[in-house]
Every structure is written in structure tokens, then in C-alpha cells.
């Protein structure tokens, strides 16, 4: 199983990246003009990579299924972006960010990659400010920070609850500058349907123009996949509706190994499911846990009364509330990492303490914060002995300034005022740590095919810390890939343009056309959503927050059967040669029906609990995750062998030389 070469540079951890940059081959500016790069996906990773590669002089083509690059789902990230700037002087450092990320990932990420991420994190903030990203500032004019889960310092930079939007618009602006210069050609409403390999190297893609239905061939010297995660496998998630695994999955089928597919992040603070027609779940930023306290009733009869609408949460006195995170994890309290907070919520709800109609919700309460801020504000405004009403009013104003848009979003969806009554929240699928396996250079096991951002697996191990996704996306795109890709492309300076009139492109296009035809000609019993929802139920019930061998086995069989049913009986209306949203969805769900099985296999293989992967068989008597470092300190990288069930497991052993592997404790 030694075919996975992570290509980690030699030397001390802190010097690896600098040394590597000094040693890799460069492409001279004149030659860059003769080299084409395709970037699929225009979120933080793809947008920043495309802009930077174009600035360097490469000819870039970008592809996104949205109508504009600016709409990629990075835009929905709320809370912030981490960087080891130590502007707060609270003891932060590159090492501490590195340490927190490896520990937060439950010791299942690659040391060298994470250290590089921590190193370049500071450049991200400098870069974004230079671009005009309006981060939150203090009255002195300097940048403000806040704290996020799983860490003890304030290193998160933010722009209210719209940090992802502002960072993405920054990357989009950088792209626009290159589009205007003619260095980027932007293909919007286009979807990549296959990867084309020539002589074993990634040399292009087959894409469908989603407006006309035309199948197009595009060639390049290298292909970058920055297509995000695959959480929509669960149907209900905080992902956008169109998020899909198609590009990554097609690369997988062409030879790219898929790493740690079962590592999924279930985010603790989302708005609970309200009914059967639900199409999507909405996140309430983790930043709310800075000020909100999470609780359920202490007595089971109170929980029942609340569910039946006989009791209001505000009527429950302090002694009758169970602030279970503060109780179980006094050191980190409400700011434990996401996997820990999610499991704790599930534990309370499973035990019968859930608070909404479905019994699947806990409270996130701002009352204490409102009063605390109110008193502080009264003091600084020179008020002596203000009454409670005044304090509350002042406090609500402070909370509104910090989280106003989130509170408004909550009120619109739930129809309750979170300033007056505690929010109800429940965990939901939010991010996938797994993804295409990449080496230190972010190259997959296919030469010339790169994966960046959430689409790769490399930095977050088994659990991602809050505000680290934006950091990784921009690190990969602005600061890592533009260097490492040059090393590979330096061999291509004499290659010349890649022709699309070759047998390899013929074969790939033929495959794509046949697949579309097959989707359109099934018996037509059930809609695409029917299958997607069924798959989502299997995933959530058997591969969700808690997993066991028996149910994972059942999941594999059920998904395989569902997939067969899908191909025989799905109904795709409309025509292939026109705008057709049903056909778009069908192609995406078909891929999920394959990935789902691999996901369950991977979870079944990993006989331990770590990060977001919790196997019920492996837990301490207190219900904490029980890792098995002796047998599972590896990245599972799956090779496609014609059917998901036949996938072959390769292992990249993880070596920790700079960090002591410990039991993760937040107590």
C-alpha cells in the first residue's frame, strides 16, 4: 500500500514551506502565456486560485454552475476567518493555530499541511484588507477579533455575520480584474461532467452549458477542482441546493483517490427541521456561542410540557435549567468544538429533553448576554442604577449590533423573536472534511489534477474548527496552489496547446452523452427529489452523528439497492438539449448514490471514534469518543474499481513529530 506519496518536504516543520518554495521549479513569465489552466468552482478556493494564476500570467478558464462566480456557497459562511496575527496579544502564534487545528481535527490531519496553513493565515488578512474587504474594526481603527469554538484565543477576523460574503466578493473582484484583462475566461452556468486524461495526465474537462444543453470540450495543461464539499448527500444540510460532488467524483472514477469520505461535520447550531417539505437547513453562526448559553430543562416533565406548549422556556428558573455544555466541559463551556457540541445536543434530545415539537432541539439563550452587555453599556453611558428595562433595551442594542442579521434570519424562518425567547437549535450537516486525496502540492493521484478548498481532505482531519474553512480556501487559492502548480507546469513549457480533437476527448464526451441519455430514458416512476430524500434519510439515520457496524452495513446495502432503483425508474422531464434543472439534479443525485455507499464503507472500516466520526461501539463510559491511535492513525484513501463496493483502500500513515498525540479533552 505504499503508492501514496505525500511529498512532504524534509527539514524542520517550520521551515518546510519556505524551503519547498525555494526548491520547486518555476515557469518563466513568457512561458506562462503558453500554458492553460482550468479551474472548476469559483468559491473562495477556486476564485482566489483563478485570480492568482491569471495574475501570474497563465491563461485561466473558470467554470461554475451558478449564474455568476460571486454566488458560490462560500458566500454563506457567516462567522469569520482565523489568522495567527496575535493582534489581541493573547498569546496566539503560528504554532498555536497549528496546534489547535491538529488537536481540533482529532489528530487525523497532516502536520506539514496544517503548519503551512497556519503560516500563510496571516497573509490572508493582509491581502484581503489590501483588496478592500471591510472587516469589523474597533473604534481605534484597527481590526477587531472574536473567539470561536475549540480555542482559547481571539483570532477570528469577521465582517458581521457575512464574512464569507465579503471574502468571496474580494476574490470575485480579483477575478474580475483578470477577466477584464482577458486572462480569465469565465464560463458561468456550466457544469463539469467529466475529466479528460491524456497519457495519464489531466488535460481537460467535458462541460455542459446549462442554458443550451450543449456538451463542450475544454482542454488545459492542468485542472484545478475547487468544487466544495459533498454534504448534500444528506439531502438536508446547510449547503446550497446546487452543491454537488460531480467534479470530484468524476475525477475519482478517473483515478483520483477519495480520502476519508466519512469525515463529515455536523454543525451544532442550526435551525431545527420544521416539516416534511423542508428543502434546506439554515446555520446560525458559531459566533453566537460566544454569547449564547446552551441549555435544556433539567426535569424531563418540564421538557415535555414545553413540547406540548404548556410551558414557556422563559418561565423556567435558573435552577431548573441544565446548561449541559458548561456542566460537562467547564474549561471550554459553550465553546467546545463542533463535533463535541453536536453530540452533546443529540445525547440530551435522545434522552428525552428536546424542546420543540419534534423533540429535536435545544435552547441557545442570549438573556444573560443581553443583561451583561446592557449593564456595561449603562455604565459607560454614565447611567447610575438603571432599571432592568433600560438595561435590557441597551443590551438588546449591543446584541443587535453584533448579530443583527442572524437574529433577523432566525425570526423570518421560525417566526419567533430571539431577543425575547431563546433560539431553538439542532445539529445539521455543514461541511465535509473528507475529499479528494492530495499530496503536499495539492495534487490528486492524477498528475495535473489538483484539488483545493473543501474539495480536498488535507487540513482538518476528522473535525474542522470554526472559521478555518475560509482560511483554508483562501490559503490554498492565493498562497499555496499558485506556487506548487508551477513545479508541475514547468515540464509543460514545450507542450503547446492541448487539442480537444483526440480519442480521449471523444471517449469522454461519448460517456457523458450516454449517461444523459440513460437518465432521460428511465421508466419515469419517481422524481429525482424522491430518490435524493430517500438517500438523505438513510445517510442521516445510519451514517449521521452516531454510527455502528450493523447500521453501516445496512446502509451500504440500502444505498446500492436505491441506486439500482434510481437508474431503472427515475423520471427526468424536459429535454437534454435545453435548460433542464431536473436533468442537472439527476446527474448530481446519481453521483451521491455512489458516494454514499463509499461513505458508509469508510465509516465501517474505521473502528474508532474520532472527531465527527462517532462509532457507538467505541466510547468511554462517560460517552466521550474513544480514538484508536495504534490502528487508525491513517488517512483512508479509496481507489475506484468499477463499483463503489469494490473500492480499494490505501492508507497514508500519519506521523506526528512536532505535536504530542493526546486524548482530546475540553473539560
Amino acid at each position: 500500500m505504499g503508492i501514496l506519496d505525500s511529498k512532504i518536504p524534509s527539514g524542520p516543520l517550520a521551515d518546510k514551506w519556505t524551503k519547498h518554495k525555494n526548491e520547486i521549479d518555476l515557469v518563466n513569465p513568457a512561458n506562462k502565456r503558453n500554458i492553460d489552466v482550468i479551474v472548476v468552482g469559483t468559491g473562495l478556493a477556486g476564485g482566489s486560485a483563478a485570480a492568482t494564476l491569471a495574475e501570474l500570467g497563465y491563461n485561466v478558464k473558470t467554470f461554475c454552475y451558478q449564474d455568476s462566480p460571486r454566488r458560490a456557497h462560500s458566500i454563506a459562511a457567516q462567522g469569520g476567518v482565523n489568522a495567527a496575527k496575535n493582534y489581541q496579544g493573547d498569546g496566539d502564534s503560528v504554532y498555536r493555530l497549528f496546534y489547535d487545528t491538529v488537536k481540533g481535527g482529532d489528530y487525523r490531519s497532516r502536520e506539514a499541511n496544517v503548519h503551512r496553513l497556519a503560516e500563510v493565515s496571516t497573509n490572508i488578512i493582509d491581502q484581503c484588507v489590501a483588496q478592500g474587504v471591510p472587516f469589523a474594526r474597533e473604534y481605534g481603527g484597527l481590526l477587531d477579533n472574536r473567539s470561536f469554538g475549540g480555542v482559547l484565543v481571539s483570532r477570528t477576523f469577521y465582517a458581521k455575520g457575512q464574512t464569507g460574503q465579503q471574502l468571496l466578493l474580494g476574490a470575485y473582484a480579483a477575478m474580475n480584474r483578470q477577466i477584464q484583462r482577458g486572462k480569465i475566461k469565465s464560463y458561468t452556468r456550466h457544469e463539469m461532467l467529466d475529466l479528460v486524461l491524456v497519457d495519464g495526465k489531466a488535460r481537460g474537462i467535458i462541460a455542459r452549458n446549462l442554458v443550451t444543453g450543449e456538451i463542450e470540450r475544454h482542454s488545459a495543461h492542468a485542472v484545478v477542482l475547487a468544487t466544495g464539499g459533498y454534504g448534500n448527500l444528506f439531502f438536508l444540510s446547510t449547503y446550497c441546493m446546487g452543491a454537488n460532488v460531480m467534479a470530484a467524483w468524476k475525477a475519482h472514477k478517473r483515478g483520483a483517490f477519495f480520502a476519508n469520505p466519512c469525515f463529515t461535520q455536523i454543525h451544532p447550531t442550526c435551525i431545527p427541521v420544521s416539516g416534511d417539505h423542508q428543502s434546506k437547513l439554515t446555520l446560525m453562526s458559531e459566533s453566537l456561542r460566544n454569547d449564547g448559553r446552551i441549555w435544556v430543562p433539567k426535569k424531563i416533565e418540564d421538557a415535555q410540557a414545553i413540547r406540548e406548549g404548556k410551558l414557556k422556556p422563559t418561565e423556567l428558573v435558573e435552577e431548573d435549567r441544565d446548561y449541559y455544555l458548561e456542566r460537562r466541559y467547564p474549561a471550554f463551556g459553550n465553546l467546545v468544538p463542533r463535533d463535541v457540541a453536536s453530540r452533546a445536543a443529540k445525547e440530551r434530545c435522545d434522552a428525552g429533553y428536546g424542546v420543540n415539537k419534534t423533540g429535536e432541539a435545544v435552547y441557545l439563550d442570549f438573556d444573560a448576554a443581553i443583561m451583561r452587555y446592557g449593564r456595561e453599556k449603562a455604565l459607560t453611558s454614565g447611567m447610575k442604577n438603571p432599571d432592568d428595562t433600560t438595561v435590557r433595551k441597551l443590551g438588546e442594542e449591543v446584541v443587535e449590533a453584533k448579530y443583527g442579521n442572524l437574529f433577523q434570519m432566525y425570526e423570518k424562518i421560525v417566526d419567533q423573536n430571539p431577543y425575547k425567547t431563546p433560539m431553538m437549535i439542532y445539529p445539521a450537516v455543514h461541511y465535509t472534511m473528507g475529499g479528494l486525496w492530495v499530496d503536499y502540492n495539492l495534487m490528486t493521484t492524477i498528475p495535473g489534477c489538483y484539488a483545493a478548498g473543501e474539495a480536498n481532505f488535507s487540513d482538518h482531519g476528522a473535525n474542522r474548527l470554526g472559521a478555518s474553512a475560509l482560511m483554508q480556501g483562501l490559503a490554498d487559492g492565493y498562497f499555496v496552489l499558485p506556487y506548487t502548480i508551477g513545479d508541475y507546469l514547468s515540464d509543460d513549457i514545450r507542450t503547446g496547446p492541448i487539442s480537444t480533437e483526440t480519442p480521449e476527448f471523444d471517449e469522454a464526451e461519448k460517456n457523458v452523452r450516454e449517461r444523459i441519455e440513460k437518465l432521460m430514458s428511465a421508466s419515469g416512476k419517481h422524481s429525482v427529489d424522491y430518490y435524493h430524500k430517500k438517500l438523505g434519510k438513510i445517510m442521516w439515520n445510519k451514517c449521521g452523528m452516531a454510527r455502528n457496524a450493523k447500521e453501516l452495513n445496512e446502509a451500504m446495502a440500502e444505498i446500492a439497492a436505491l441506486r439500482e432503483d434510481f437508474w431503472a425508474n427515475v423520471k427526468v422531464t424536459g429535454e437534454p438539449n435545453a435548460k433542464n434543472q431536473e436533468l442537472e439534479k439527476a446527474g448530481r443525485v446519481a453521483d451521491f448514490l455512489e458516494l454514499g455507499e463509499l461513505f458508509a464503507m469508510d465509516a465501517f472500516d474505521r473502528n474508532e471514534s474520532c472527531g465527527g466520526h462517532f462509532r457507538e461501539e467505541y466510547q468511554t463510559p462517560e460517552g466521550e469518543a474513544l480514538r484508536d491511535d495504534k490502528n487508525y492513525t491513517y488517512v483512508s484513501a479509496w481507489e475506484y474499481k468499477g463499483d463503489p463496493s469494490k473500492a480499494k483502500l490505501h492508507k497514508e500513515e500519519l506521523v506526528y513529530e512536532n505535536i504530542e498525540v493526546k486524548t482530546r479533552s475540553y473539560k
Binding site: S68, G140, L142, L143, A174, T188, V211, Q581
Partner: protein, 248 residues
């Protein structure tokens, strides 16, 4: 709830469209407006008819993709939200709801309720950025202190989601609110000063080339904007434009 729908159906950009009526039963007040359309589409699919196509993606009010004219108002009857955040509790049993695409010359219909908004991208490409190389080594972020009020005002302008409701709301189909939001974001920051004159001239020129109408200060755009982008931005852009033209 029982809802009567009148929806614009148009096969493609060239085809002639028309309003088509549908009746939908069993609508629940907790459903979002788009989930109501999902239910309609499932019904249409089960009857072998083509579902109604509409743009949507994040379904949490931030990507700016959804774009429906509901009973004559962009994003529907509620204020400060996008269609995807609108819930059926804003309607009553027996209501008739008319759903149309954005109507503007610069936003041609692609299919049903989907329009082509790439004109907005081209306005941004004309100058909606600060020319700083991404792979370079800029100065430390805190070396550029910015007054909090200016930073906040810049942020407020930058929260525009580019949905196009301002254009749809405007009787002249003007894109002044959209364009001025981007101009303002940079005009309010020290980093944006160097290219300020070229930026405003180029973006306004592109805006005019795309066929958007003129601004007659009715303020409909501000009222319908889901993000509350202020008319002050238009005033600021006019000042910037005038200053840049004089400097010319």
C-alpha cells in the same frame, strides 16, 4: 391552505411566454415560498409536465440567486428579505399569487422565471476592484487604520447581494443602486482612493452600455432591496462621478 398561482412560463429566450394558472392545495404556513414551488413542481413532474424553472441556490438570503417578482414586488410582500426567506405564513388561504421574472431589457429571460444577469458581472469587471496583486506581499493589515464609521459604512454598501431587485423595482430598470453600492464600498476606504476616478467613470459607462435606464430618484430600489442598501450610495456615486468628470 389552498393557493391560486399565476406563473410566467417561457420555454426559452426566443419563445413567446405567457401566464399559466395552477391551483395548489395543502400548502403549509411553515413552508418557505420556494418550498411551495418545490411542491408544485413535484406535482407537475408526477403528471409528466415540465416543472417551473426558477433560480435559487443558498436558500438563506445571501447568494442573491433567487429573483421572483411576486404580486408585482421583487422578492414578495415582506421587506428586507429575499424570496427564499419568504414564508407562506405571509399569505392566506385562497390567495392568488402572481409570479413573474425580473423585467428589464438588460436582464433577458432565459427560461420561465430565470433571467440573465451577466450584465451585473460586466459592470463589476469594468472597475469593481482594487488593483492589488493577490500573490504579492502587501503591508500588514493593521498598518491601514480605518475609522470605524467609514469601515462600517463601506461594509453596509458591500452587503449588496447582486440579486437585481433594484432593477426590477425601478420603472426605468436602472442599475444605479447596484453600481453605486460597489463604487461606495471603495470610495469610503483609503485603499480605494487611488483608482477612484477611473472606477466610477468605467463602471457607469458599462452600466449605460448594458442598457439599464436612468435614475429618477423615486427610491423604489431602496424600499425593495433585501439588504437595505441606501439611496445615499447613489448620491455618493453622483458626487464621485462629477468629481471624476471634472478632473477628467
Amino acid at each position: 391552505m389552498k393557493i391560486y398561482l399565476k406563473i410566467w412560463r417561457q420555454k426559452n429566450a426566443e419563445a413567446k411566454g405567457s401566464m399559466v394558472e395552477y391551483t395548489l392545495e395543502g400548502v403549509e404556513s411553515d413552508m418557505s415560498f420556494l418550498e411551495m414551488l418545490d411542491v408544485l413542481n413535484e406535482e407537475l413532474i408526477s403528471k409528466g409536465e415540465e416543472p417551473v424553472e426558477f433560480d435559487h441556490d443558498c436558500r438563506e438570503g445571501i447568494c442573491g440567486t433567487c429573483s421572483l417578482m411576486i404580486n408585482g414586488r421583487p422578492h414578495g410582500p415582506d421587506s428586507r428579505i429575499t424570496v427564499c426567506q419568504l414564508h407562506m405564513r405571509s399569505f392566506n388561504d385562497g390567495d392568488s399569487i402572481v409570479i413573474e421574472p425580473w423585467r428589464a431589457k438588460a436582464f433577458p429571460v432565459i427560461k420561465d422565471l430565470i433571467v440573465d444577469r451577466t450584465a451585473f458581472d460586466r459592470i463589476q469587471q469594468a472597475g469593481g476592484y482594487i488593483s492589488v496583486n493577490t500573490s504579492g506581499r502587501p503591508v500588514d493589515a493593521n498598518a491601514i487604520p480605518i475609522e470605524k464609521d467609514a469601515a462600517d459604512a463601506s461594509f453596509n454598501a458591500a452587503t449588496c447581494i447582486g440579486c437585481g431587485a433594484c432593477v426590477a423595482a425601478c420603472k426605468n430598470a436602472s442599475a444605479m443602486l447596484f453600481t453605486s453600492a460597489k463604487v461606495s464600498q471603495f470610495a469610503l476606504l483609503p485603499q480605494g482612493q487611488v483608482e477612484a476616478a477611473d472606477r466610477v467613470l468605467n463602471m457607469v459607462r458599462q452600466m449605460d452600455l448594458e442598457g439599464f435606464g436612468n435614475c429618477t430618484n423615486t427610491g423604489a430600489c431602496e424600499i425593495e432591496c433585501p439588504k437595505g442598501i441606501s439611496l445615499e450610495n447613489i448620491a455618493r456615486m453622483n458626487r464621485e462621478y462629477l468629481a471624476a468628470s471634472v478632473k477628467g
